[in-house]
């Protein structure tokens, strides 16, 4: 706290350590809207490139003469029924990522998919959508995608036609079938597809000598192993945070990294709206600062390796300290709990958490994350059982039986390959050369396999070690089927025919089994016809999923398995992480997943929800750990783990656990493509098969060099520092309070501002017709970034690259400001999405010399791009820093296929033009025209902005402020509403709803926004 008091900002939010200590770097971003002056691109190619472009322009101009080029209109020869050209259509489909399912509704415009949204009818998405499905569009149109079959002879790739590739594969597969699969191994990604499972079953029956391995570098197999121990068979753990009043998460990121994360977030958020009833309480114990951790009412940062001890401590406190009775047969875990209790003390938070859990039996939830070992999951299963949560907040559904865990599978395959027992290896997706544990040397082993096929979207690291590379169909081009986490059957239909004639994994398997490649449609159709409850095929496709849930066998706890696992874990020597024994935690990259999305520019340029890093990952250190190790933000350090070495940049993240270092998987690709090559640091180089999740014994050696990390953290800082004296009287930008404060003073948010009576400088416009407005609920905004990608896809927002972002020139219309509060080692976190707030007395409009930005009748602050001459006065005069300037023409000089992603309803902006959030004016206009065509008023909730549509927690509400009955009016005039910088009297149309926390009164002395510790 000492550093806080130095600059008089007690109780205030801060955005970075630089701001907290008021460093020159932060001041630079604060004082200049665009800190770097305009310049000509300085890369070596620029002059030549300029001449090329100029030459081309002159040639074009002379060809064209005075008239625009002649355009042709090419109607269908025979138009499909129900299609109107130039009108968007939407189709239900699903995306599968590592066995997890995203139900989708994809907008297609004249045959090209242009927007991915969640399927509003599906319980798992309820209209929301995650990053990866949304950004899948850019992957579909990625010009780096593989278009040919490649055969590698003597290390050199040769292009083959698809037909030749198929013939070669068919011949080899025929030989394999003749030997009943001897010497064949298949390596696949995780999949929930019944079609795929059926083909796999056939392979087992028809080619009994062949071996099947399934590998995912980011896996939930610890949970699967644990359910195997606890129930005698693998089960899927289904959680329902919406039904829980008290949630205790141990290294579990339920709101982001979970197969049902979207539903979890929706349920969690529904329990956070204090005006609708009771508020839930979230405890998080974790090492890195996860999305869920940011939402916690009480967060405890501790190394991942010590978290098992914490959960055992909690169990001991519940059972031994508070007399929670165990069911008969489980008494033999008591010695283990006594052993734990004897070994360590119980901190205050543990007692408070235990008390809260006991007080909410049947409506609490103990969740354990995928990085924790199996016995910790078993203990959580036991705790949920004795707390009466089983069947209420957590259930256990059947899982398709599978042999080895992912880690064991890849290790076993490597051993088999090392022995020379694999002559033929079929790799269905995945990229094991990049992401298999480093000690296996998968690339070296793969070189020694005589015949290898890799089915992949890109010619990636693995393709470079395989004899054959086969182009894969993208999920938007494929027929596929899935079974979601609830067991529901769903079918994926293609939105577009394969651009490069790629195959799906199921098609390749059918070639292997049948000698002919059967179309994926036929394979899926056959499964759907057999699937009970799938119903009519057309209806299934229309709806996107089968309405009926399959009948499931109930799970029965196996007492002996539980007791054995808990005793094993409790009696084990606890890990001691400390200065001499640092821990390295491998985390899933929130933008790139395991690295497969590395070539996706939308995801690369998406600021990480906590670090706000783009185009990079970094080794995350806690504040005090960094100080103790004498490393600073941006330093390059060598991470040493046993024999392995990796140089990585340091990022000092407030709230990160002490003596723990996190590094996200997925960066450091060498064959990802033009976008993804060479970004960040390859964490897989340090990952051994013995420690896939967290490893002890890390050494950090300084190199003395530094690395430029591009972060959006300090960009667009609102000048709160300069207003410090006023801030003492006025509210800060993020208004937050506790539930108790809210109950006492429901309108506390409005009273945070003290300013003289506001006098308008301008003649105010009457509000007639529509008055569009928005509210953003900071209590339920979890900061997941889904809205940022939705906005980017909807509004044709270009990516600008790392260098430009480092200069503060990112173009995202919607930014997520992340604020910390309190102790830098244990801060509270708040996310605040800020886009143009559409001021009624907009300061930007007063200074535009050409009237390029002005109000329309609905009160929107609109941009006429054609008028804009690029003075940037408007941006200079915007107190919210939401205007974005096109320093270059980011839409020129891009491959044709990449242009297919553009939304035809939104103009592309050129160089020298200012742009900003339009409240999705194209959606407003479409709704208004449709309503008037039908002769009816626009209904409340009919206009849905892109950010609002995709928000998993429905934190964003949009509507007509002139309609007293609309939701947005009720929220804007409600208790928690406040306006950002209200004292400026610019009358923004976007209102924020104050963030509420629900700290445990037992921990009250530290509850004022500060987590207990």
């Amino acid at each position: 706290m000492s550093s806080m008091n130095q600059n008089g900002l007690d109780h205030n939010y801060w955005r970075s350590l630089q701001e907290l200590s008021d460093e020159p770097e932060f001041r630079r971003f604060l004082e200049g809207e665009f800190p770097e002056p305009a310049e000509v691109p300085t890369d070596a190619m620029s002059r030549r490139r300029f001449l090329q472009v100029m030459g081309a322009s002159v040639a074009m101009a002379s060809l064209v003469g005075c008239r625009w080029p002649q355009e042709t209109i090419v109607p269908f020869a025979s138009r499909p029924e129900g299609v109107t050209p130039g009108t968007a259509r939407r189709y239900a489909t699903v995306m599968e990522l590592a066995g997890a399912v995203s139900p989708l509704l994809v907008t297609s415009f004249d045959g090209r998919p242009i927007k991915v949204e969640g399927n509003p009818d599906h319980p798992l998405s309820q209209g929301a959508c995650d990053l990866f499905a949304q950004a899948g569009l850019l992957e579909l149109y990625d010009p780096d995608r593989s278009r040919h079959v490649l055969e590698r002879e003597g290390g050199r790739p040769r292009r083959r036609s698809l037909g030749d590739g198929e013939a070669a594969a068919a011949a080899a597969f025929t030989a394999l079938r003749a030997r009943r699969g001897a010497g064949l191994a298949v390596l696949s990604e995780a999949s929930s597809s019944p079609t795929f499972a059926a083909l796999r079953g056939r392979l087992r029956d028809e080619l009994p000598e062949a071996a099947w391995y399934e590998y995912e570098p980011v896996s939930r197999d610890n949970e699967r192993l644990a359910t195997g121990l606890a129930f005698g068979e693998a089960r899927r753990v289904r959680v329902d945070p919406g039904a829980a009043r008290v949630l205790a998460c141990f290294d579990a990121d339920l709101l982001l990294d979970h197969p049902t994360a979207l539903r979890n977030a929706r349920g969690f958020a529904n329990g956070r709206r204090a005006e609708d009833g009771e508020m839930n309480r979230l405890y998080v114990v974790e090492s890195d600062l996860s999305l869920t951790g940011g939402m916690a009412d009480h967060r405890v940062a501790m190394p991942s390796l010590e978290i098992p001890r914490a959960l055992y401590g909690l169990a001991a406190e519940l059972v031994l300290g508070r007399g929670l009775s165990l069911p008969p047969g489980y008494e033999s875990v008591l010695p283990a709990l006594e052993h734990v209790r004897a070994a360590g003390h119980a901190p205050a938070w543990m007692g408070a958490m235990a008390g809260d859990l006991l007080a909410h039996r049947g409506e609490s939830l103990v969740a354990v994350g995928p990085r924790q070992p199996d016995h910790v999951h078993v203990l959580a299963i036991l705790l949920n059982e004795v707390l009466g949560n089983t069947g209420r907040t957590v259930t256990y559904g059947p899982d398709d039986q599978r042999g080895l865990s992912h880690g064991a599978a890849i290790a076993t395959l490597a051993v088999t390959m090392g022995k020379g027992q694999v002559q033929s290896l079929v790799i269905l997706g995945g990229n094991p050369v990049h992401d298999a544990p480093a000690d296996l040397d998968f690339g070296g082993l793969l070189d020694r396999v005589a015949e290898s096929w890799h089915l992949s979207l890109f010619v990636d690291e693995t393709s470079q070690h395989c004899r054959w590379h086969l182009p894969r169909a993208h999920w938007l081009e494929s027929w596929h089927d899935v079974r979601d986490h609830d067991g529901r059957y769903a079918v994926a239909q293609p939105l577009i025919a394969p651009l490069y004639d790629g195959w799906t994994p199921a098609e390749l398997l059918s070639l292997l089994l049948d000698g002919v490649r059967r179309p994926a449609h036929d394979l899926v159709r056959a499964t759907a016809d057999r699937e009970p409850g799938a119903g009519d095929w057309e209806a299934l496709l229309h709806r996107g999923f089968a309405a009926a849930l399959p009948v499931e066998k109930a799970a029965a706890l196996d007492g002996r398995g539980v007791v054995a696992a808990v005793r094993r874990g409790g009696m084990a020597k606890p890990a001691e992480v400390g200065r001499e024994n640092l821990e390295l935690v491998f985390v899933r990259d929130p933008s790139l997943h395991d690295g497969r999305f590395a070539n996706n520019a939308w995801l690369q340029e998406l600021p990480d929800f906590m670090t706000k890093l783009v185009w990079d990952n970094a080794a995350l250190f806690g504040v005090s750990t960094a100080a103790a190790l004498d490393v600073a933000h941006g330093d390059v350090v060598e991470l040493q783990l046993g024999e392995r070495r990796l140089e990585a940049a340091v990022y000092v993240l407030p709230g990160h656990a002490p003596w723990s270092v996190s590094l996200s998987l997925g960066h450091g690709r060498t064959a990802a493509g033009g976008v993804g090559n060479g970004t960040g640091f390859r964490a897989y180089a340090l990952r051994n098969s013995s420690a896939l999740d967290a490893a002890a014994g890390l050494k950090v050696v300084r190199t003395g060099r530094s690395h430029r990390l591009a972060t959006t953290q300090d960009h667009h800082a609102i000048d709160a520092v300069g207003m410090r004296e006023r801030e003492k009287r006025s509210r800060s930008l993020v208004v937050s309070g506790t539930l108790a404060e809210y109950r006492e003073h429901p309108d506390f948010a409005a009273h945070r501002t003290h300013h003289p009576p506001l006098v308008s400088l301008w003649k105010e416009r009457p509000r007639e017709g529509f008055a569009w407005g928005m509210t953003i609920d900071l209590s339920t905004c979890i900061g997941c970034n889904a809205c940022v990608v939705a906005c980017q896809a909807e509004n044709n927002i270009p990516v600008v690259g790392k260098d430009q972002v480092a200069k503060g020139r990112e173009l995202h219309w919607l930014r997520l400001d992340r604020y910390f509060q309190g102790d830098p080692d244990a801060p509270a976190v708040a996310h605040q999405p800020v886009a143009c707030v559409h001021c009624e007395l907009a300061p930007c409009e007063q200074v535009c010399p050409v009237n390029a930005t002005m109000h329309n009748e609905d009160g929107l602050n609109v941009m006429a791009y054609n008028r804009c001459v690029g003075t940037r006065y408007c941006s200079n005069n915007c107190p919210y820093k939401v205007r974005r300037f096109n320093w270059f023409n980011f839409n020129s000089d891009i491959p044709d296929v990449r242009k297919l992603v553009y939304n035809p309803e939104v103009t592309l902006r050129s160089r020298g033009v200012m742009e900003k959030c339009t409240y999705c004016v194209q959606r407003i206009e479409t709704v208004k025209i449709d309503a008037k065509n039908e002769g009816r008023p626009v209904r409340d909730g009919e206009v849905v902005t892109a950010c609002q549509q995709t928000c998993p927690t429905q934190a964003i509400v949009f509507g007509d402020l002139n309609d007293p009955q609309s939701r947005v009016t009720k929220l804007t005039t409600g208790d928690r509403a406040y306006h950002l910088l209200a004292e400026l009297n610019v009358k923004p149309r976007t209102a924020f709803l104050a963030r509420l926390r629900n700290p445990n009164p037992e921990l009250a002395e530290s509850a004022d926004g500060h987590p207990a510790h």
Binding site: T72, F76, A77, T84, E857, M863, T918
Partner: protein
Amino acid sequence: MDSQQKDPRRDGPDPFRFPKWTNAIRLPVTLAAALAPLFILGLLYLLFSPGATSVGYQPAQPVPYSHQLHAGLLGIDCRYCHTGVETGAAATLPPTSVCMNCHATVRAQSEKLQLVRESFATGMPIPWVRVHDLPDFVYFDHSAHVRRGVGCESCHGRIDKMEVVRQFAGLNMAWCLECHRDPVPHLRPEDAVTVMGYVPDEPQIELGRRLRDARHITPKTDCSTCHR
């Protein structure tokens, strides 16, 4: 050095005097200066003339389709072919199959229809040449106009008299705004939208006002109405 050396400037032309040869061009320059306003006016005239705004643009089409015959003589309704006009932004051109609805039997062997038959057989579209081409940053919606009672004729002219379609209106922003500011002269009952040469039973100004008030037709002149 020689102190008598001449100042080089003295040898050259006097910087404060026009050189003698300028006498010769006095008249042309004066005339040019006097005529400059006329010239500029002329340029402006050309800029806004039908030539510059493409009025009358009449490209040859791959198939010699005659609106005069189909819409005029035979009286086929516009919406038989342009099906999207009441529901979507684009009026849409008909697929080849619509041509073949009749031409499978009517003039089935005509040489002029060779391309149509080929298109129908092969599935390859007919590359019609676009006549009315708005800039890409303009978002025009046919349904929003047709459903309010703006006749096809208002923007496209007497299509029923065109052997080959030509551009009737300037399609510039001033032309759009003219009607958006005062739609009265162009409003018709909804059932008369596609009628060519429509003559209302009452004076247009009264009909237009009545329709405007009855159907709350309040066209906007905001930038965002057409530019997104």
